[in-house]
């Protein structure tokens, strides 16, 4: 099968025990003070969008998952890392 190009998103955010001061501050100081009380929670994270050549979405996802672990895209002591193929 000839390889195709997939877009994979990686989201890194703090574990909940490590707190998320950025999300908290945006929520309290910006959003709630701005009057948007319908917003009940905010979490902040980093997003990496990668273009990956692979033969299937599953392969693309696995590859990225592996590289995230290998290259420590996240620090397991403090972060959680999500990988998802978006197209």
């Amino acid at each position: 099968m000839s390889p195709a190009s997939f877009t994979v998103e990686v989201v890194v955010e703090n574990k909940s025990l490590a707190r998320d001061p950025e999300g908290e501050t945006i929520h309290h100081n910006l959003i709630l003070k701005g009057g948007y009380s319908q917003v009940t929670n905010v979490r902040a994270g980093k997003l990496l969008r990668m273009n990956v050549e692979a033969s299937s979405p599953g392969e693309a996802e696995q590859l990225v998952r592996k590289l995230c672990d290998d290259l420590r895209i996240y620090n397991p002591a403090a972060h959680v890392c999500q990988v998802r193929v978006v197209s």
Binding site: L17, P21, E22, K46, N75
Partner: protein
């Protein structure tokens, strides 16, 4: 003769500062070593300086931690040599898994440059052996990501192994919320590995090693480097005997 290496990564910016203090103030033979050139463990001690290696992109220290030079450093740590990570150097050691935990973005979400008070919690490292336990040092910090974190189990382990070396404290030598500049867990400013030969700290001792640069005219930062020299003397004496 002993020789120290200051390891330079792309984006290091306190490398020359550390080099100058080691060579001219502490007067220990020291080389500035480009990370790619550090292929073998041929130095007696290593200093990983502060700065923004790889622009702090992704996460402070994360990319530099994958430099092959870290393998050499790892060998040196296993061999029991003194290894000191200052600020970004601390972040690199943590990201390389040589030291425990994580160093996260400051709780205040801003870069903070200020003089802090540090209480010496452990004198068993080659960087604090000249200090008295409980002694306060005045050394400045300057960082964006200095909030030390690890989970409760590991914190307990750190405590048990006496791996916490420095804490931020107030004027009365007590760790308080106000004296914690970045939201670090338990006011932790510096830790060491289990064996004690590797230390990482957020404050910059090289910036407090000349009286003229210090707020109180005391070169408190020198104690960290002088301790390292003393640890060499001890080993050398030991070998001679």
């Amino acid at each position: 003769m002993v020789k120290v290496a200051v390891v330079q990564f792309p984006g290091s910016n306190c490398d020359l500062d550390a080099l100058e203090i080691l060579q001219k103030t502490v007067k220990v033979p020291t080389d500035l070593v480009w990370h790619k050139d550090l292929k073998e463990d041929q130095y007696d001690a290593y200093v990983l300086p502060g700065g923004f290696s790889y622009g702090d992109y992704l996460r402070a220290g994360a990319i530099a931690a994958t430099s092959p030079s870290l393998e050499t450093i790892r060998e040196a740590t296993v061999a029991g040599k003194p290894v000191l990570g200052i600020c970004n150097g601390f972040q690199i050691l943590v990201e390389a898994g040589i030291l425990l935990g994580a160093v996260l973005r400051n709780a205040g979400l801003r870069f903070v440059c200020k003089w802090t008070r540090l209480r010496v919690e452990s004198t068993r490292t080659p960087f604090t052996n000249l200090a008295k336990k409980g002694q306060t040092l005045r050394i400045p910090i300057a960082h964006n990501e200095g909030r030390y974190y690890l989970d409760n189990d590991q914190l307990a382990e750190l405590e048990r192994n006496k791996q916490i070396v420095l804490r931020y404290v107030n004027e009365t030598n007590i760790p308080t919320k106000d004296s914690n500049p970045n939201g670090s867990l338990d006011n932790i400013a510096g830790i060491c590995n289990k064996e004690g030969n590797v230390m990482g700290l957020m404050p910059h001792p090289e910036r407090a090693s000349l009286p003229i640069l210090s707020l109180n005219n005391q070169p408190d930062g020198r104690l960290i480097f002088d301790s390292m020299i003393r640890s060499f003397e001890n080993t050398v004496e030991g070998e001679n005997r």
